[in-house]
């Protein structure tokens, strides 16, 4: 294999002041629309329109900055942010950091001026896009029957499904009895936290040492008449596909439970295998991961939900339905869980997801799945060249692998935290490790989805290899990293110290400055 030359890099160093430190008294960034004098003639002074005691008396301590300086500040902050578009972002696994096509931004912007309470006949286009994305694309990809886009993020999708589960048992008069949800430790934390917030007791299954996923026996021991259902990902965040998943859903159904699928890791499965065919009753999809909508520095996203016919009546209101050639918002659903978010959800994200799926088509979706899987096999092959890396649990992985740097840590004193501080010196985003607890020690989870070229993967591996070699040769380089970043090693001790943390300018001025 040809060796790749790692190119020098340095992040922008703007040493940018805090926004409150900029500007001068009297500067203005923008002038508001004028109020015609005739209006003032009619209504009089503003003060007379504010009830006594409700007028602001304390001065508002916002910065006063002119427009060019405001723009410059935010541009500089954006430059010191290593967005996905800027680099080979395959290290941030479970997140499917795929390319967000620029044309989709233009299309999403077309809905920017729409108010969600406009009459249906004025938003037929938007409703059509959302309906088509659900009832044509997601239906075919998942096999589910009915869809909602109200959950505004993946975890919100999990919460939505927990509420549906709650409502279902409430209507069966079984809720007091069925108060347990089962998940697995390698499923996303939301699969535990959202059912818990909804009021369920959560049971977590741990993996078998050999296979990396919990055994059928472990599931059988956990289910009972108290089981409300399961919330699982598959493949789990390790990239391991539980091959007995249909057996799992059968076991849960046998005790009267429901099966909720977290499809955050759908990317390598599109056109390959489907939620419904594995026996799931509900499923959520991260449109900001699998379907190419940008991650937005952590939202807005969309946790689109698909359910079976039997559960469709519980979907949050309104549901987008098609009657004849018209699209409607159906509010008349007496069994609905109500709302998990105001209005219709993040439909601008759905527009992007629709555009992405429409650009791909059936073959393109399958190609994206196959290449993301193949990229992962290729990256795994090349990972063999990197010293200090091991792969806990055997077997092939689908879209990603949860690797371990435990060996590197033992042999050099540098683990994932040190490696993460160093890779940024080469213009590579620090890796996603794992959510907690770290069942795999010193974890990292690259996900080389279809966006990344073979050359990208080769380069990324070259960076990791260089950093791990440095750990063996001169671990201090890693420990003192970063060296080429916007700032140097931070003091993280204030983050858990109430006397020293400061979450705002007000607190910072009072406590520190």
């Amino acid at each position: 294999m040809t060796d790749v030359n790692v190119r020098p890099y340095h992040a922008p160093v703007w040493s940018e002041p805090l926004i409150h430190e900029l500007g001068a008294k009297g500067e203005r960034g923008v002038i508001l629309p004028r109020v015609e004098p005739e209006i003032q003639d009619v209504v009089g002074e503003t003060d007379s329109l504010i009830p006594k005691g409700m007028k602001r008396n304390t001065p508002l301590n916002l910065p006063e900055i002119s427009q060019p300086q405001v723009l410059r500040h935010w541009l500089r902050l954006s430059q010191m942010t290593l967005g996905m578009e800027m680099e080979i972002d395959l290290g941030v696994g479970t997140c499917t950091m795929k390319y967000s096509p620029k044309v989709n931004e233009e299309l999403a912007a077309m809905v920017a001026g729409i108010h969600p309470d406009q009459p249906e006949e004025t938003i037929q286009g938007l409703l059509e896009v959302a309906w088509r994305f659900g009832d044509i694309y997601l239906r075919e990809i998942s096999g589910m029957d009915a869809f909602t886009f109200q959950p505004p993020g993946g975890s919100a999708g999990a919460f939505n499904n927990a509420i549906i589960m709650r409502k279902y048992y409430e209507e069966q008069n079984e809720l007091v009895q069925r108060n347990e949800v089962i998940t697995t430790i390698f499923s996303h934390p939301c699969d535990a936290a959202c059912p818990a917030t909804a009021g369920f007791k959560v049971i977590t299954l741990y993996p078998d040492d050999e296979t990396g996923y919990p055994s059928i026996e472990a599931l059988k021991a956990a289910v009972s008449k108290h089981t409300a259902g399961i919330f699982v990902t598959n493949p789990e965040d390790t990239g391991i596909f539980n091959p007995h998943i249909d057996e799992w859903t059968r076991i849960v159904h046998e005790v009267g439970g429901l099966c909720a699928y977290d499809q955050a890791n759908l990317n390598a499965l599109m056109g390959i295998t489907r939620a419904r065919d594995a026996g799931f009753d509900m499923s959520f999809f991260n449109l900001h991961k699998t379907f190419g909508s940008p991650h937005g520095s952590s939202g807005p996203g969309s946790g689109a939900v698909g359910v079976t016919k039997d559960l469709a009546k519980y979907l949050p209101i309104p549901v987008i339905v098609k009657r004849g050639d018209k699209y409607h918002l159906d509010y008349d659903r007496p069994h609905s869980i109500g709302r998990v978010r105001d209005f219709l959800g993040n439909l601008q994200v759905v527009v992007r997801a629709y555009a992405w799926a429409a650009a791909m088509g059936a073959d393109g979706l399958r190609e994206a799945a196959e290449i993301s899987m193949l990229n992962n096999q290729y990256l795994s092959e090349r990972m063999k060249e990197v010293p200090g890396v091991t792969k806990p649990y055997g077997g092939r992985r689908l879209d990603q692998v949860r690797w371990s740097l435990d060996k590197l840590k033992e042999e050099t004193g540098c683990g994932i935290n040190e490696v993460n501080k160093r890779v940024v010196d080469f213009g590579v985003q620090s890796f996603f490790t794992s959510h907690h607890p770290w069942v795999v020690p010193e974890p990292f989870t690259p996900e080389p989805c279809e966006t990344y070229s073979k050359a990208d993967i080769d380069y990324w591996i070259a960076v990791l290899k260089k950093v791990c070699q440095e750990a063996y040769e001169d671990p201090e380089i890693l420990k003192k990293a970063p060296h080429n970043s916007s700032i140097h090693s931070v003091d993280s001790t204030p983050f858990d110290d109430p006397k020293r943390w400061a979450m705002s300018w007000r607190a910072y001025r009072r406590k520190i400055k």
Binding site: L18, T58, M84, G154, P243, G296, R339, P482
Partner: protein, 466 residues
């Protein structure tokens, strides 16, 4: 398969694909899948989907042909508000919102994403100035989710299981809060109890509040301005009643009012929540929402936040500043089902846009926008009240008010249908949400409306009702 490589998929080039297969020692991707997924779970057919549109021009035409049918506040005169508002968006907000670095960042570290962390922290700083608090976090999904998180925080802080909310709040927002409160027979359920409002002023009925508050009350939640536009001027009294009962005071706000209205901290709020969308974020059919929470800088409050909170810190280099996650152990990323509710992908970009907005407007701009909204909406209130048989309700308001046409034989939806033929989107029909207000339209006027717009609306409405 003889087909063009897809422009979004570099390794779809057949030669590259073949070389990678050779390197990993496989004949085909089918063979690799067969090693991982049992045969009975494999989809043995091609998906049945519309023909793909890999050419950008074709795709753009297909999608924009569909969306071109829609109308919006750009080509109509809209008086819709009620939780998602049509405000002036400075161009600099759009410019930053489109920056690929912020748009496509996600979960990077605090070195490589220093700018994102500083932007998050500055959102916290600026929103804290508006509401008079010292702690906030990365915004959540919407006002309703913020309120849901806030009342659950209050419940954990007080170990009490009832929350009082105004009967005048948005039914949709109330539904979000109720779903958060788990109002079932499961353990941990929080009961949501409505407090009446004065049908003349729209303000909270303090007598009903005194009747319903008890030693089980975790918090009293009220809004300023409320869903029906009412400015609640009894904040201090409400807070007093709540605190005497050992309850927390949670106030939901529309922050665009806070350049001219008193911050909730002035009248006794313990936790503030509200909607970020008015601060420079497009409505996007409701996709522009983002909720926030703020509180005093006390450890016991911070410990109950579900969302990520960014703190400032120093680096090893003298004078250099960094940022990071504060009190991270409480989040579901660390504690799973033992966490404080949950955290996930929410609305960080909207928080950044709002921070740009607040830094552009400054104290004078926030005052100006508040005054403009107050004056223009009150002008509309006066103008519309002069129409025969129109009854405008709740004169102490900010930006919106119910416009009642009970004295006519017409229904709001009929009137709105006719208004639409004149390219006017009338106020939201709230006759089903608030039957006690009769045939009322929640009519919203902001700084974007001109005198001419309002006069035109009044004229057309008068003509319809005549």
């Amino acid at each position: 398969m003889a087909k063009k490589p897809h422009p979004y998929i570099p390794n779809s080039v057949p030669e590259i694909r073949a070389e990678m297969l050779r390197i990993v020692g496989a004949e085909s991707t089918d063979q690799l899948y067969a090693e991982m997924i049992p045969d009975n779970l494999l989809l043995k057919r091609n998906m049945n989907l519309p023909e793909s549109l890999p050419a950008e021009q074709d795709l753009k035409k297909h999608v924009s042909d569909i969306l071109d049918k829609d109308r919006s506040c750009w080509d109509t005169l809209s008086f819709l508000g009620g939780g998602c508002w049509n405000h002036f968006i400075p161009q600099v907000c759009d410019e930053i919102a489109r920056r690929g670095e912020f748009l496509t960042a996600y979960a990077g570290g605090y070195y490589s994403d220093l700018g994102r962390f500083q932007a998050n922290w500055e959102f916290q700083s600026l929103i804290c100035e508006l509401v008079g608090m010292e702690v906030s976090g990365i915004p959540t999904y919407d006002w309703g989710s913020g309120a849901g998180n806030a009342v659950r925080m209050a419940s954990r802080l007080t170990r009490r299981k009832e929350v009082l909310v105004p009967a005048s709040m948005s039914p949709a927002r109330l539904s979000v809060v109720t779903n958060f409160c788990n109002p079932t027979e499961l353990p941990g359920a929080i009961k949501v109890i409505k407090i009446d409002y004065d049908k003349r002023t729209g303000a909270l009925d303090l007598k009903d509040l005194r009747n319903k508050i008890s030693s089980s009350t975790a918090c009293v939640y009220f809004e300023n301005p409320g869903y029906l536009g009412v400015i609640e001027d009894q904040g201090e009294e409400i807070a007093d009643i709540a605190h005497k009962a050992g309850a927390e005071v949670v106030v939901g706000v529309d922050p665009i009012s806070l350049g001219i209205l008193a911050p909730p901290s002035d009248y006794g709020a313990d936790i503030v929540c509200g909607e970020v969308q008015p601060l420079g974020v497009h409505m996007m059919a409701g996709g522009g929402l983002a909720g926030f929470i703020a509180s005093r800088d006390e450890e016991r409050y911070v410990a109950e936040y579900p969302m990520r909170i960014i703190s400032i810190t120093d680096t090893v280099e003298s004078g250099e500043r960094g940022f990071g996650q504060a009190a991270y152990e409480r989040t579901s990323y660390m504690a799973r089902e033992k966490a404080k509710d949950w955290v996930g992908t929410t609305t960080a970009l909207h928080g950044i846009i709002a921070a740009v907005y607040m830094s552009l407007l400054g104290p004078q701009g926030m005052r100006d926008v508040g005054e403009a909204i107050l004056q223009k909406s009150h002008y509309a209130f006066t103008k519309l009240s002069e129409i025969d048989n129109v009854d405008v309700k709740f004169p102490c308001f900010f930006t919106e008010f119910p416009l009642c046409i009970d004295s006519t034989s017409k229904k709001v939806n009929q009137v709105n249908r006719i208004l639409l033929t004149k390219s006017i989107l009338g106020g939201k029909d709230i006759s089903r949400e608030f039957p006690e207000l009769g045939q009322s339209a929640l009519t919203c006027v902001t700084e974007v409306h001109s005198k001419g717009d309002i006069d035109k609306f009044a004229e057309e409405l008068e003509a319809i009702l005549r």
